[in-house]
C-alpha cells in the first residue's frame, strides 16, 4: 500500500508538486498521467527516496520513506525512465550486486537470477557487458533488477520505453501477475493506451497538482482517457 499525504516539492522557489494526496491499495495498479513537466517523475523520485520532500509524507506499506528509508526501500522496486546502468558489469554481475544490496540470501539470489534471466530473455547474453546491450535489453534488465528481491511495491517511470512488442507483451503479463499476487504497482506515464489497459485507477496531474482521479469503470463511461487527458489545463 502507498500513501501520499499532502506531498509537495519545489525547485528554485517553483512548485514541481503541490499538496498531492493519494492512497493506493495493495495489489492495485495505479497510473499517474499528465503532460510533460506535470510532476510525474518528481513524484515517483520522491517515492523512491531519490528526492526529499518539502512538505507532507510518503508511506510505503506503512514505512515513511524519509524517516524509515531502509525499511521502505527494502520492499520497493524502482524502474526509472532512463536506463543508466553499470556498463562494465555483465547482467549476471549486475543482478548479483543488486541482490546483495537488498540482502537476498545467496542461494535464493542465484535461483531467482537464473529464473528471471530466463523469463526476461536475457539468459543468452548474461555474460556480456551491459555496454553492448540494446535499449530494449537494458529496459528488460532494469525491470528484472527491480524484481530480484520480491518487492511489495513497484514504482515504474514510463514503463515501455525502448521495448519491442514481445517485451511489452511479456511485461504487461508480468505486471498483471504481480498485481494478482498483491504487489502494488505505481506507473508514471503519458501513454494513454497503457494506462487504460493496465491501471485499476488513474490520477491526472498537471502543474504538480492532482486534478482528477478515475477508476476503470469511470474511464469507460467517460469514453476513454484521451478526452480526459485533453481537458487537462496546460
Amino acid at each position: 500500500m502507498i500513501v501520499l499525504e499532502n506531498v509537495s516539492k519545489s525547485f528554485n522557489g517553483r512548485w514541481a508538486v503541490k499538496g498531492l494526496n493519494l492512497l493506493i491499495n495493495k495489489g492495485e495498479v495505479f497510473g499517474l498521467l499528465g503532460p510533460n513537466a506535470a510532476g510525474k517523475t518528481t513524484t515517483i523520485k520522491m517515492m523512491a527516496g531519490l528526492l526529499g520532500l518539502a512538505e507532507g509524507r510518503i508511506l510505503i506499506n506503512g514505512y515513511d520513506i524519509v524517516s524509515e528509508p531502509l525499511k521502505a526501500k527494502s520492499i520497493l522496486g524502482y524502474v526509472p525512465d532512463k536506463a543508466f546502468l553499470y556498463e562494465k558489469l555483465t547482467s549476471r554481475e549486475f543482478l548479483i550486486f543488486i541482490s546483495s544490496l537488498h540482502g537476498v540470501e545467496k542461494f535464493q539470489a542465484f535461483k531467482r537470477i537464473d529464473k528471471l534471466l530466463d523469463t526476461f530473455g536475457i539468459k543468452e547474453i548474461e555474460e556480456e557487458l551491459i555496454e553492448s546491450y540494446s535499449q530494449g535489453m537494458r529496459q528488460r534488465l532494469l525491470f528484472l533488477s527491480a524484481l530480484i528481491h520480491n518487492p511489495l511495491v513497484l514504482l515504474i517511470d514510463e514503463p515501455f520505453v525502448g521495448l519491442d512488442p514481445f517485451g511489452v507483451k511479456m511485461l504487461k503479463a508480468m505486471m498483471r501477475r504481480l498485481s494478482s499476487e498483491g504487489v502494488t504497482i505505481f506507473l508514471a506515464t503519458h501513454s494513454l493506451h497503457i494506462a487504460e489497459e493496465l491501471c485499476d485507477r488513474v490520477g491526472l496531474i498537471s502543474k504538480g497538482s492532482l486534478i482528477d482521479l478515475k477508476n476503470k469503470e469511470e474511464i469507460v463511461i467517460e469514453g476513454g482517457l484521451e478526452g480526459l487527458f485533453l481537458k487537462i489545463p496546460l
Partner: protein, 550 residues
Amino acid sequence: MKITLLLLSPKIKSIKNSINLHTLMRRLPFILIGIVFYLVFYIGSHKILSFIRSMEFIGEILSKKLLSMTFFSLGIFLLLSNIITALSSFYMSKDIPFLMSKPIEIKEILRLKTIETILTSSWMVISFMPPFFIAYGINYDAPIFFYIFLTLTFIPFILISGGIGILTAHLLTRIFPVRKIRLALLTIGLLLFLFIYLFVKSQLPVDLESPERFNHSFFATKIDLPLMPNFWMTEIATASLKKQMPDVLYLLLLLSNSLFMLMLSDRVGQKLYINNIERIQPSTRDASRGRRYRSFYPSRNLAVLWKDTKIFFRDTSQWSQVFIIGALIFIYVYNFRTIPLKLLSEFTPFIKEIMVLINMVMAGLVLSAVSARFLYSSLSLEGMAFWIIKTSPLTVKKLIWSKFFYGFIPVTVIMLAIVFITNMIIGADTLLMFFALVTVVMLCISISGLGVGMGAMYPRFRYENIASVSMSPTGMLFMLIAFSVVLLTLSIEAWSFYFYKKAGTSGLSLNLSEKTQLTLAGIVIIVLNILTIYIPMKKGEKRLSGDISI
C-alpha cells in the same frame, strides 16, 4: 566556419548561462584560493629566478635553461593532454551520435571537436602559467612587448601540440583494436614519459658529489634542439626579455608549423573519421573469464567494493592517471639513489632526519595526487547509475565507508612501499622508520577520509572523462587541503622529533614543561587528523542524503 560557430554556440551559451552572481559567490572560496596560489607561485618563481641570476658567470645561462626546460615540459604535457582529450572528444563524446545525425559536413564536426580538444587540454597551462612568466618579465624588467609576444606565440605553440595530438588520436583509433586504444595510448604515453626522463638523465651523467660536474652536466642537457617548438619559444622569449626584437624566423616557424599541423590533422581526420566512428560502435564482449568465480556472492557490506573493483579492472579509462602517477613514483624512487648524502652530511649532522622529512613531504604530495584519483573521484564514478544505490536499502554511511576502503587499501599499500623503500635507501634507523611508517598510515587514513568526504560533498555524476573530476576546481581544492594537512602534521612531528633528539644528544632528560609540549604536539596531530576525516565524511554523508540531480 559559420556552421562550426553555430555548433559551438550551445557550449558558449551554457558557459555564459552558468556565470551569474550566485555562482560567483559560491565559487568565491575557490577564486580566493586561486589568487593565493597565483601569488605564491609568482613569489616563488621570482625568488628562484633572482637566486639563479645572482650566480656569477652562469646565472643568465641557467635562467635561459630554466625557460627552455619549462617550454619543453609544457610542450610534452600539452601533447599528452591533447592526445587523451582528442580520443574522448572525437570518439567517445556523448554528442557524436547527435552531430552525426544532422545534415552537417564531417569537416564541420572535425573543426568543432578540434576547438573543443585544444581548449579543454590547454586551459590548465593557460591559467596556471602566467605567474611564472610574469615573474620572468618583472625580474628582467621586460618591456610590454615581451608579454604581447609571449601571448601571441603561445597560441601557435598550443596549436602545434593540438594538431599533433589530434592527428595521433585519429591514427591510434585506426591502428589499434577499439577497446584497447586507451590502454595502448597510455602505454605509449608511459613509455614516452620514461623515454624523455631517461633521455634527459642520460644527458646528465651526474656525479652529484661534485657540484662542478653537476653544473657542467646541466649545461650539456640537450633538450633545446633547434627543430623543436620549445626552442623557438625560448629564443623569442629570451630576446624580448632583453628588449631585443625576436628573430622573425622563429615567429614564422611557429605560425607555419601550427597551420600545417592543424591542416594535416584535419585532412587525416576527413580521411579516417567515418571509418573510425564505425569501428567504435559498441560490440558484444564476453566477460566469461569470470565464470569460474560465478559462485562468489558478496555480502551487503562488501557489495559496492566488489562492484567497484570489478569495474576498475575492466574500465581502462580509469587507468590514465594511474599510469602517470606510476611513472612519477618510479622516477621519484629512482632519484633517491642519486642523493649525495655523504656530501650533504658535511653541512648538518641531522642529514638522515632531514632527508626522511623531505621524503615524507614528497610522499605526502604523491599521497594527495593518488587520493585525488582513487578517493576523491570514487563517488562520482557511480555516474548516472547512482540512482541504483540511492534507491537501495544501503545507508549513505555504508556507501561512503565502502568507497573509503576501496581507495584506502591500495593507497596505503603504495605509500607504505614508497616510504619503506626510500627510507631504506636513505639508511633511516629503526626509530625513524617506525615513525615514518606510522605517520604514513595515519595520513593515509585521514587523507582517504578527506578524499571520500569531499568527493561526496561535491559529486559530479555527469562527466565525460573521470580524469576531469579530480582536475576540477573542487578536486584541486581537495589536493591543496590534503597537502596542507600533510605539511602541518609533518611540521609538528619534525619539531617534536628535533626536540627529542636534541635532548638525547645533549644527554639531558626532558623536563615536565618539555614533556607537556611534546604530549600536546601529539594530541594536536591526532586531533588534526581525526578532524580531517570526520568533518568531510559527515558533510559528505549529509550531502548525499539530500537531493541528487541524476
